[in-house]
């Protein structure tokens, strides 16, 4: 995946670097969004890009998500590679038609005449107190309706590499960053590299149970694994990195060894990404599973503001550890056995 030297960057800087490199690399790439130019984005991800690439590559938009997402769809259909920043994932719901009825379907309904090499970059999740309309995790919507490839990087290196891949893809992609990760740091290779979609990363080897996760929850899962290790339980932690396509091979391989799977993510549980993973793995690894797949997710209510409620709403490392313990404690085989 990486080539040459690397250095420590923040997740934010890594995203910016991917944008810069792709902007340099391909004149058809341009970036659009609210307050991304002069101000450099409310999360400061695009800071400096306007000065460097000018107003024909870095476009500040009005507060008109449907229009600028739609404009990106049109531009993509005629040869450009727009990268749109949706300031908060929650705002996807004011542009949902352009995203899910238009971008997602144009290639198919045109009988393969038009492709839509559009990248949506956004951030989601619980930060600290952003409450019900600014904290949602909406990846499951993009997973359910076919059309977008969906990436949720957990590390600076992936934030760069997955975005670079997304921009080069000939299809709609959505790269969902996490607001609580922007300041986190990690080694990031220099230069252009593209982390392939559909390849999960093993973040921690372990033999007793598999934890599949993505985005910020990977770090929570790793913390849970530490707690569990102290109890003598070795959890394998898989970072799925992309949900569409989803690397079932890696998950199944791990479950083949551990016999147990816990899926952890911040999105709601009901009909969320974890439901699909649980359903699919139960089907494909039926013989290997020694306990039902457990899910540890955001609660199935809106995100509350007050700190203790928000904390209780989130899948904590304690909740994930509990899920693992339950998985290990529960009956190891069906009644029928």
């Amino acid at each position: 995946m990486s080539e040459g030297a690397s250095r420590v960057l923040t997740y934010r800087e890594a995203v910016r670097e991917a944008l810069s490199l792709e902007l340099e690399n391909d004149p058809d790439v341009f970036v659009m969004g609210e307050d991304i130019g002069q101000y450099g984005g409310v999360f400061k991800v695009t800071d400096g890009l306007l000065a460097r690439f000018g107003p024909l590559r870095i476009l500040d938009t009005p507060i008109s998500e449907a229009a600028f997402v739609g404009a990106a769809v049109g531009a993509a259909m005629t040869g450009k590679r727009p990268v749109v920043e949706l300031m908060f994932m929650d705002f996807a719901l004011v542009a949902a038609d352009q995203l899910l009825n238009q971008a997602a379907k144009m290639q198919f309904l045109s009988g393969d005449q038009f492709r839509v090499p559009l990248t949506i970059r956004t951030q989601q999740g619980v930060g600290s107190g952003t409450a019900a309309q600014h904290s949602q995790s909406l990846e499951a919507l993009f997973m359910h309706l076919p059309g977008f490839a969906v990436a949720l990087p957990s590390s600076p290196a992936d934030a760069k590499g997955l975005l670079a891949s997304a921009i080069r893809a000939d299809h709609p992609t959505i790269v969902i960053e996490h607001k609580a990760l922007y300041g986190t740091k990690g080694e990031v290779p220099e230069g252009i590299y593209r982390t392939p979609f559909g390849q999960a990363a093993l973040r921690r080897p372990g033999s007793d149970v598999t934890i599949a996760s993505y985005s910020r929850t990977v770090h929570v899962a790793l913390a849970a694994a530490e707690t569990l290790a102290a109890e003598g339980i070795e959890a394998e932690v898989i970072d799925l990195r992309t949900l569409v396509p989803l690397d079932y091979d890696t998950v199944l391989d791990s479950v083949g060894r551990t016999g147990r799977l816990v899926v952890a993510h911040e999105g709601h549980r009901n009909a969320g990404a974890g439901a699909e993973i649980a359903a699919r793995v139960s089907e494909l690894a039926w013989h290997a599973l020694r306990a039902p797949v457990r899910r540890v997710c955001g609660l199935d209510i809106p995100v509350p503001y007050a700190a203790p409620l928000e904390a209780a709403w989130l899948p904590s490392s304690e909740a994930i550890a509990r899920g693992v313990r339950e998985s290990l404690g529960s009956a190891t085989s069906p009644q029928a056995a």
């Binding site: 449907a66 259909m77 450009k80 352009q98 309904l109 009988g111 005449q113 038009f114 076919p146």
Partner: protein, 328 residues
Amino acid sequence: METHVADLGAVELATYTSLLGIRGFEEHAQDLFSRSLIRGSTHLGIGQEAVAVGARLASRPGDLVVPTYRGHAYALAWGMTFDAAFGELLGRVTGCNSGRGGSKHFADREKGVLPGNAIVAAGLPIGCGTALADRLVGRDRVTIVPFGDGATNQAAFHEALNLAAIWSLPVVFLCENNLYGEMTPLHRTVRIERLADRGAAYGMPGVQADGMDVNAVASVLSEAVERARPGGGPTLVEALTYRFCGHMPGDTEPYRTREEVDEWRARDPITSQRKAARRAGVGESEIRDLETAVAAALDAAEAAAIAAPPPEIADIGLGATEWMEWER
């Protein structure tokens, strides 16, 4: 624009041919629907043909159009073949979209026809985008986006017009005001007299055109197109027109009177254009021959489409992205 007298005849005849082909296609579609050969629904533009043909006359080869579900006229005016159009109507592999889209979604990449859009007003932001791409690249191309009167109340209309205005995008917004949004009369859903006046909210010129007169449409649109092309910004053009047919098959039309329909029918753009061609010196027999030829071409294309095969089930993944999966 100077035109010699002989040329004028040819020009008027070409326009007539275009109008006639579209009208004929729509009438064939009506018939095919009544024979249950078209699935779903089909939204015809019988009576409104002058707007699409006028738009084509006002634009240059290569200019783009982003039609709606009522988009056959634009696809054909932009040069889509009858074969591709009938094929799509009937869900054949020979259709412009290889049978994937049907009546609402006619597209022709080579001819500059984006997919017809079945979500009201969704094409407007998309048209901003094709125009934006052209502006960024410095390409000398204009996008025309037709839509209905009812669409001017939809969210995307507002955002798109504003975006196009502030960025001076090379796009023309072409409102086909046929007085009804589906079955609801326009006067019940807006409080203003002229939809063209909505342009002012964006600092954009708004002009009306007689949508039953192909040359009137062409001349108003030409101005808009040629302002847009060099970066002069978008225009909202309101073409006053009328559909002689129902909104869709089965529309019982309780919302309008026979008299109203007849009044508009008296201004049938096909009839007027036939007269214009005659006035321009085209002989009656030449016109007759042309009419026969168009009818024959339509019949032949329809027959070919009926005979053409549907897509293979094995090809159901055509147009799926590389990460879609479609095994059951």
